[in-house]
């Protein structure tokens, strides 16, 4: 991201500091505090007061020198004139230790620099100190390095000196190298603290970036010292926020691989920074998301959502999960780690931003969570959120519910029993033209109204909560085809409930469906058939044809609806649809014709449209539904036709009809084969009925018997008392003796 202007950066950092570094944070403070002005006031009075550790004579001597002379005396003793204080290194027989050698000059140096700190306008002197310190930081002696680091750290307390430091690439490099190479934890801590201080200004960020600070800081994330780790992550965070190129550098330095394990740490503020870093690195970057996944990111993030209460941390973590939730590889991992349940914990709190992030994430994840268990609580919260006026909340709640009720009978039942139908209807009413709400809401209702034990309950509930007219209106113009498609499917399900048939008719569903069907069919004809498919709003017009015909099929179960459908000159179209290359369209058009053919007049019309030819073809369909409907229509057409015609129909019915459902039809086979054994069938009037075999437990007397038959009554055969039709006289085979 581009470096922000200094003022913005400073303000942001200040704000951020205030939120991150509260007094009770437990983080080693002092690293970020800027020494206040009081000290400088105090020091400016230096000439009048004594500082600790200096004798009166010293003070007197120093008092006589100007400031510049004092500093020069400290740094460049060889340039002193007579009368000025001189300090030389002692030459002892015993070689002084490095500490001893350093102690005095470094102490003086420190003092000099304290002066510098107090005189903010004297940058020149500060500039002179920098090369010296730079050299010392690279010293072989670790103690020297340590002292130099301490001094530099002090220098970062004041703005002027800090500025000088960050303007020296060599200095920053030296700090970075010292941090990286030292074996001393205290040195590392100082150096890290320096970099951290520098990272609050644009120049400092740039200096750190240019001196290879990022790889070094990434390494520091593995430090055993918590404060080092904290400085490192915070500095990296600043770099990621404000320094262009930082993200790439962090990724190249394997920053993600180092950061993800840090999710196991327990400091909430530390975790908040870390997760924010992950979010910055992974947003829009697929490779980063995969690295996070490979290092156990989903589990770590879900753990945080489940176990922490700090709002800022929950928010930053939810943002990472949101970013990961669009990644097809991360999605199932988050779901498997219990992400749905964990996110669902935070939908009822007071933080609006947290709730909304969790909702968006849940919505993204929902299509991968249809088999998850333990979502009862979540489902109930979502149902209650359907009452919201916030369009974002509605979009998410309807979307999540739509997916979670997909092919999941348990979820469907729970949502139905929790008042989900009524709530969804209200959401539909409030959605208006907002398709992002209407489409999933209607889909959810469609799911609830089929394929689970409480489907009938849901079908009734729609009617009882005045949903039918609202739903029918969705078929009107302007057509947003995904909504139309979902609505048509819902109407079909509603029509499965006989009590809904009249209300559906009364709200004008049938003409709307027929018109939609015609419109969609015309579109498919216009663009040709086969490979060239017509899409509108991402929906194929063939799907609309199928959906409308399917809905009309179920509506046609009602006799009045049947008449209305037929009266709209739909039969020719349905017959034409029998020729469709889409299997499902063949099925639903055969189905609706099957219902219409219950009426004799309709049956004749169907025949007149030449339906026999395509229907005969469909008898051979491997799809049992299609073959059944086709056969039924042919039976109904052929009722008044010649026996030759009927034989032909029969011949066309392959013996493999229903071969895919052997168990269910075994009974039929056994029965029919048994009845063939005992009955002669040379000439059969197909309207005749035969006594069924096997009713030995029925009483023999008191049954209406044809007088003619009486003489041919066979004692081992019994009659179905439900029979209404009289027996036809037939020649029978010789009866075996009992």
């Amino acid at each position: 991201s581009p470096a922000v202007s200094e003022a913005e950066g400073a303000v942001k950092v200040e704000e951020w500091q205030q939120t991150f570094y509260a007094p009770d944070s437990g983080i080693q403070s002092g690293a970020t505090t800027i020494r206040d002005e009081d000290e400088s006031e105090c020091c400016k009075k230096y000439s009048l007061s004594a500082s600790a550790g200096e004798s009166a004579t010293d003070i007197e001597a120093q008092y006589s020198l100007t400031r510049a002379q004092r500093v020069r005396a400290a740094m460049f003793p060889e340039t002193l004139v007579e009368g000025e204080m001189v300090l030389t290194a002692q030459s002892n027989p015993d070689q002084p230790t490095n500490v001893q050698r350093l102690a005095e000059p470094s102490q003086l140096l420190k003092t000099a620099i304290v002066h510098l700190i107090n005189y903010q306008d004297d940058a020149e002197l500060a500039t002179r100190a920098v090369p010296e310190l730079t050299k010392l930081l690279a010293d072989e002696d670790q103690v020297v390095v340590n002292k130099a680091a301490l001094i530099v750290n002090q220098l970062t307390r004041k703005e002027a000196s800090r500025r000088v430091l960050m303007q020296s690439p060599q200095m920053v490099s030296a700090v970075v190298r010292a941090m990286q190479n030292t074996g001393d934890l205290e040195t590392a801590r100082c150096a890290a603290s320096v970099l951290h201080s520098l990272s609050h200004q644009r120049e400092g960020l740039l200096a750190i970036f240019k001196s290879g600070g990022i790889p070094a800081l990434v390494r520091m994330l593995g430090s055993p010292m918590e404060s080092v780790m904290f400085y490192a992550i915070t500095t990296l965070h600043n770099l990621l926020l404000h320094q262009e190129g930082a993200k790439m550098a962090v990724r190249l330095a394997d920053g993600l691989q180092r950061m993800v394990p840090l999710l196991k740490k327990t400091n909430p503020k530390f975790l908040a920074i870390t997760t924010d870093c992950l979010q910055l690195l992974s947003y829009g970057n697929q490779e980063s998301k995969l690295i996070i996944l490979a290092n156990g990111g989903p589990e770590g993030l879900v753990f945080i959502m489940r176990n922490y209460n700090y709002e800022k941390l929950l928010w930053t973590t939810s943002r990472v999960l949101k970013v990961l939730s669009v990644c097809p590889s991360n999605k199932p991992a988050i779901v498997d780690a219990g992400g749905m349940q964990a996110l669902g914990q935070h939908l009822s709190g007071s933080s609006q931003r947290l709730t909304q992030n969790c909702l968006w994430t849940l919505r993204n994840l929902s299509d991968a969570a249809t088999k998850q268990e333990g979502l009862d609580g979540l489902l109930q919260i979502l149902v209650s959120q359907l009452g919201s006026d916030d369009v974002n909340m509605l979009t998410c709640a309807t979307g999540i519910l739509s997916n979670l009720t997909c092919n999941n009978a348990r979820n469907k039942a729970l949502v139905t029993q929790s008042g989900g139908v009524e709530a969804l209807i209200h959401a539909v009413l409030r959605a208006g033209e907002k398709e992002d709400v209407a489409e999933p809401a209607v889909c959810a209702l469609r799911h609830l109204t089929s394929r689970h034990p409480d489907a009938e309950l849901a079908q009734n509930a729609v009617r009882l909560h005045y949903g039918i007219s609202a739903i029918t209106k969705l078929l009107g113009q302007p057509h947003y085809w995904p909504v139309v498609k979902a609505t048509v499917g819902l109407i079909r399900n509603l029509a499965l409930c006989p009590v809904n048939q009249a209300p559906l008719r009364e709200s004008g569903t049938i003409p709307r469906l027929v018109n939609l069907l015609l419109k969609a069919h015309q579109e498919t004809q216009r663009h040709g058939s086969g490979a060239q498919q017509t899409y509108q709003d991402g929906v194929r017009m063939e799907e609309i044809v199928e959906g409308c015909t399917g809905a009309l099929h179920i509506l046609a179960r009602d006799p009045i609806n049947r008449g209305e459908i037929a009266s709209m000159q739909t039969i020719p179209l349905f017959v034409q649809l029998l020729y469709s290359y889409v299997e499902n369209i063949k099925r639903v058009s055969a189905g609706v014709l099957c219902e219409l053919a219950l009426d004799k007049q309709c049956a004749e019309m169907i025949d007149a449209e030449g339906a026999s030819a395509p229907l005969m073809e469909l008898l051979h369909s491997p799809n049992e539904g299609i073959a059944t409907y086709a056969a039924a229509v042919l039976f109904r057409i052929s009722e008044d036709k010649s026996s030759d015609y009927r034989k032909r129909v029969s011949v066309e019915l392959t013996h493999s009809l229903f071969k895919h459902d052997p168990a269910a039809w075994e009974m039929v086979n056994i029965f029919i084969q048994e009845s063939h054994r005992t009955l002669a069938h040379s000439q059969i009037n197909l309207d005749a009925v035969y006594p069924p075999y096997g009713y030995s437990d029925l009483p023999m007397d008191g049954l209406p018997l044809d007088a003619e038959l009486h003489e041919q009554y066979m004692p081992e055969m019994t009659y179905d008392p439900r029979q209404q039709v009289s027996l036809h006289t037939l020649p029978r085979p010789p009866i075996q003796s009992l």
Binding site: R353, T628, A631, R636, H681, L686
Partner: protein, 81 residues
Amino acid sequence: MNREEAPGKSPEEMYIQQKVRVLLMLKKMGSNLTPNEEAFLRNYAGVVHSQMSQLPQHPIDQGAEDVVMAFSRSETEDRRQ
């Protein structure tokens, strides 16, 4: 002509068998039958007919399967606070 396993089955026998199957299947799929068809079933399918009503609805015609909606097509950046 004879496509059944049992030998000696006439076309008429076949027709009855097939019609029984078709009508039972129709019932199972939730469709209506004419009064004649109901009678036909009662006469020929009797026991089987009554048992068929106890079987669960055939899944062939329960309508289109539920389909998930894919929401995670694109990332949205939220405004940083």
